[in-house]
């Protein structure tokens, strides 16, 4: 101490004090002022662990299981722990190549050497079993159970829909989802996503630097328990659906069956369809691309999205509207020809007939005349107003508007507006005779098979419909999600329907659809065939029907693309389905065999070649008249005026 000089000593202490003060100031800032580090500390030690609930099962209306969950196993990897494993053996077990292995390993390592990540998605139970046996040899790997959807009967693919991983957009829009979650992408899986998925649980665990769990965070105060998804009971009759799919195999088109007294969809078939089991698990993306590339468009939900010209089935709507507006009466008859300038619409020889007979024989001139009488009626002052009223009636039958079915991606159909025709022909330069083909369901009309069935429901119910829907019960309670118990009335009064229904009965008993009669079993069937001209080749074969006449139990609309007369394909298919549903036996095995084995696909392949040619042609037209092309692209029913051929 003797050498210490006073001045130096003070500076010496001052220096230390300054350093201490600087430390204290910095600490104060770090610990008291700044709270960034408190947040970082939490994200360091708190791990959100998601507890996935199992997705709801789906049953048909009779309690038959249609969709269930099968356990699969995500193979997880912690790269740091992977040591001395037999790569060849490993790759053989899970079915990947050595190159795949090193690629995946690198990817996982880049993500994090300590944190577990998915090495291989969704190993099947069998693979898992054989892998699990040797798991002790593969340090750093473990399996995490997950579930995928399974479809025991492999039916109703479009209606049920499929699942897929959420994309960034969904995550951004909806806080519930996180990357890696699955979500319903179409069909019931999408529209009832909320009910099916249940509620995810979350628990917060404390983890150390190696991501090992060290216990609950604050005794689990912030943890939530997962809630399993609710089971759905569909309105669908799985047996009927399967039968209809068998009848529609190797055909393009669609079948929709509805219980008119409730709006419950009993069957909804698309041809071609696909096995829903193809769009799950590891093979999903590969199969999806294959299906997408198929020229017959198996992924296309024709029942709800394809626009077809309704053809003669549309005559019913026209007749009902005209009756209600007192344009015609049941006794009205017209000359047996419809003439526009030099063109004339004729029919096959039959005696001059009134409305009922005209429906029975599907008389084209008659309904062209009805349409003209309606649109040109003095009541409305101008054909523009006349058409507007006509359109209002058509809309009230659920055409050109969305019906509100409980499945996504429903299209509303096409009924041209006044403005549409003004654009094409010029304001005031068109009248009924310009667009008369609408009267017989041709022209610019586009109607989905679901809408065809719904129109038939309105007729069967004499004036109203319940929104067609596919989910009957959610869990144990009745499906109350979408105003399903509300009657929707069309503009036509109940008593007006009788004469049209009489006509429909005669169509089946003595008209174009004699094949569909179940009179021997004392069931009165009412129906109407259609043979829709279209620009894609042979006429579409159509049939709509309901039975029994009193207290109808089922409405069926059948649409078989490019197959000819309504009576050839659509009528037998619909009648077999009625037999199946109402009588539960098939008494005409020969017809059944002919329908099931009928293969129209070669025609379609030929057609698709033609269609490609046509695309090149329309591309040329596109430059001239963009409006028309829009028409071509959005509907199957391109403006095709009637050429005068007889149409049963």
């Amino acid at each position: 101490m003797k050498f210490i000089q006073g001045g130096h000593r003070i500076i010496f202490f001052a220096l230390f004090s300054i350093v201490a003060v600087i430390y204290l100031a910095r600490l104060f800032f770090l610990q008291v002022v700044e709270d960034r580090y408190k947040i970082s500390a939490n994200s360091n030690v708190l791990r959100r662990i998601t507890d996935y609930p199992s997705r709801g099962l789906i049953y048909d209306r009779n309690g038959k299981l249609m969709v269930y969950n099968e356990a699969v196993y995500d193979l997880m990897i912690v790269p740091k722990d992977v040591k001395n494993i037999d790569t060849t053996d490993f790759c053989k077990l899970i079915g990947i190549t050595i190159e795949d292995f090193s690629k995946k390993f690198q990817k996982a390592k880049i993500y994090s050497p300590y944190k577990a990540s998915i090495f291989e998605k969704q190993l099947s139970a069998q693979t898992y079993a054989s892998f699990q046996e040797k798991l002790y040899k593969f340090n750093g790997f473990y399996c995490q159970p997950r579930t995928i959807r399974k479809y025991p009967d492999a039916i109703a693919a479009h209606l049920l829909g499929y699942l897929g991983e959420v994309d960034e957009k969904v995550v951004e829009r909806n806080q519930y989802y996180q990357m890696g979650d699955y979500i319903g992408i179409s069909g019931v899986e999408q529209s009832y996503e909320k009910e099916l998925r249940g509620r995810r649980g979350v628990r917060y665990a404390l983890v150390d630097v190696f991501n090992r769990e060290k216990g609950k965070f604050e005794e689990g105060r912030y943890d939530t328990i997962s809630v399993a998804g609710e089971n759905l009971s569909l309105t669908l009759d799985a047996e009927l659906q399967l039968y209809a799919e068998q009848l529609m195999q190797n055909k393009l088109g669609s079948v929709v069956a509805i219980e008119p007294s409730t709006g419950e969809i009993l069957a909804m078939v698309n041809g071609p369809t696909y096995d829903p089991n193809l769009l799950v698990g590891r093979v999903r993306s590969k199969n999806y691309v294959t299906l997408l590339k198929d020229t017959l468009k198996p992924l296309f939900n024709r029942a709800m999205q394809a626009y077809y010209p309704p053809g003669s089935t549309f005559k019913l709507t026209g007749a009902l509207s005209a009756l209600e507006e007192n344009i015609i009466s049941p006794g009205t008859s017209y000359a047996h020809v419809f003439t526009v300038g030099s063109k004339s619409v004729k029919c096959h020889p039959h005696p001059p007939i009134a409305l009922e007979g005209s429906i029975q024989y599907s008389c084209n001139p008659y309904f062209c005349n009805v349409f003209r009488s309606f649109v040109e009626s003095n009541k409305y002052g101008s054909s523009e107003n006349g058409y507007r009223t006509w359109r209002k009636y058509v809309n009230s039958f659920g055409i050109g508007v969305k019906i509100g079915v409980d499945m996504p991606h429903e299209l509303k159909g096409l009924v041209p507006s006044v403005e549409f025709y003004d654009k094409i022909y010029g304001k005031g330069r068109w009248k009924a005779s310009t667009i008369y083909s609408l009267g017989i369901g041709q022209g610019e009309l586009g109607i989905t098979p679901l809408q065809m069935a719904n129109i038939t429901c309105i007729i069967a119910n004499k004036g109203f419909y319940y929104t067609p829907h596919v989910v009957k019960k959610i869990g144990e309670r009745k499906n109350d999600t979408r105003n399903l118990l509300e009657k929707h009335f069309c503009l036509v009064k109940p008593q007006t329907f009788n004469v049209v229904i009489d006509g429909m009965q005669r169509v089946v008993e003595a008209g174009t659809a004699r094949n569909a009669s179940l009179i021997k079993d004392s069931i009165v069937v009412c129906g109407k065939t259609g043979t829709a001209e279209n620009p894609h080749g042979k006429d579409h074969s159509l049939f709509v029907c309901f039975a029994p006449r009193e207290n109808p139990k089922i409405v069926i609309a059948v649409m078989v693309e490019n197959s000819g007369f309504g009576a050839t394909w659509a009528v037998p298919i619909a009648s077999l389905m009625m037999e199946k549903y109402l009588l539960d036996t098939i008494k005409r095995p020969d017809v059944e065999k002919r329908m099931m084995e009928g293969n129209l696909l070669p025609d379609y392949y030929y057609r698709s070649l033609q269609l490609q040619q046509q695309k090149t042609d329309t591309a040329a037209i596109a430059k001239k008249d963009s409006l028309l092309v829009v028409q071509v692209n959005t509907s199957f029913g391109k403006s095709s005026s009637y050429n005068g051929k007889a149409k049963p």
């Binding site: 000089q5 201490a20 600490l27 610990q31 960034r36 580090y37 030690v45 630097v209 060290k214």
Partner: protein, 342 residues
């Protein structure tokens, strides 16, 4: 007996108290830092805290031993101790055990001895002995050179062992020398040189040179003394030289990891997974403590090993996290008081 009493009478009890408070606080915090459920006995010698206790007790014995031994013993053996430690520093270069790139440990089974640690104490002892020798005056240039040599020799040896950190500790002997009468100017010069080094890493060269020139001009204008012109100009030129040579030193003399550490420290780089990991994690640990801390044994960052070298180099994180600002301040003030007492 009388002799004994006089020793205990001479003891600075406040320093002893400070010492014991710090030792026990250290031990408790090491226990918190490596705390785990399986070994919750603080006396468990298989764990770091158990071993720490062993060392504390050993040190106590040594303290008593040192107190009892006559001061003349140290007087006599100071140079011997210094010599032995220099020899061991040389020996470790050849016989040492390499740990993480530095060769500074002798290994004896599970125990290790780092001669560099002993060298610190040996140098201090030898320096004290030298300066207290009769007839030695610190004001003499010869004395100064001898002192510097005594410090620089072990320092260089340690640098050769690649223990830059320990070697830097030796530079703190400058403070001791200052207290013994070293000119304050030298100290100031050193501080300024370090400041210049750091500034030239952070700021663009031209900005720094312009700033230095302005300072020089301002000083000249303030004092208006012609004799100052030359030295100030000299210092200015020297500083500019330093500024330009810093880049070279930084890129060619320093090791890659050293460069990185400096960059991270200066905030020029945020390599959170590499060199910046320790820094960032310690900031998180200390910063999350708040004013009062999370409570003893409640620290999550330290308990779950987010900060490496938790029980040794980064023990302050445990204090910061579990005891908060209050605890950290107490530790700093304890150190300051101890420094003032010595």
């Amino acid at each position: 007996m009388r002799r004994q009493r006089s020793i205990f009478q001479n003891i600075d009890w406040i320093t002893v108290l400070l010492y014991f408070v710090m030792v026990i606080a250290g031990w408790l915090n090491i226990y918190a830092a490596v705390f785990n459920q399986q070994h919750d006995n603080i006396f468990d010698v298989t764990q770091n805290y158990g071993r720490q206790l062993m060392w504390i007790l050993t040190a106590l014995v040594l303290i008593v031993f040192v107190l009892v031994i006559d001061g003349k013993f140290f007087d006599a053996f100071a140079y011997v101790v210094y010599g032995v430690s220099i020899i061991s520093l040389i020996a470790v270069l050849f016989l040492g055990h390499e740990v993480a790139g530095s060769k500074s440990w002798f290994r004896f089974g599970s125990f290790g001895i780092q001669p560099a640690e002993f060298a610190k104490f040996a140098t201090a002892l030898a320096l004290a002995k030298y300066l207290s020798t009769m007839g030695i005056r610190f004001s003499e240039t010869r004395t100064k050179i001898t002192c510097v040599a005594m410090i620089v020799i072990p320092m260089l040896l340690i640098l050769l062992e690649n223990e830059t950190g320990v070697a830097l500790v030796f530079s703190s002997f400058v403070l001791v020398l200052y207290r013994e009468g070293l000119s304050g100017g030298l100290l100031l010069l050193g501080v300024l040189a370090v400041a210049l080094f750091i500034l030239s890493l952070v700021l663009p060269k031209m900005t720094l040179i312009i700033a230095l020139s302005i300072i020089a001009v301002v000083i000249l204008l303030l004092f208006r003394n012609k004799t100052l012109v030359l030295p100030i100009a000299g210092i200015l030129i020297l500083s500019v030289g330093v500024v330009f040579s810093v880049d070279y030193v930084f890129h060619n003399v320093l090791e890659k990891h050293q460069k990185k550490r400096i960059d991270v420290l200066l905030g020029k780089e945020t390599d959170l997974k590499g060199a910046g990991y320790n820094l960032n994690q310690s900031l998180i640990a200390i910063g999350s403590g708040g004013f009062c801390g999370k409570g003893y044994l409640q620290g999550t960052q330290t308990k779950f090993d987010f900060v490496p070298e938790q029980s040794t180099d980064f023990i302050f994180c445990t204090v910061g996290e579990e005891w908060g600002f209050i605890g950290s301040a107490v530790v700093i003030l304890l150190f300051l008081s101890l420094l003032f007492r010595i």
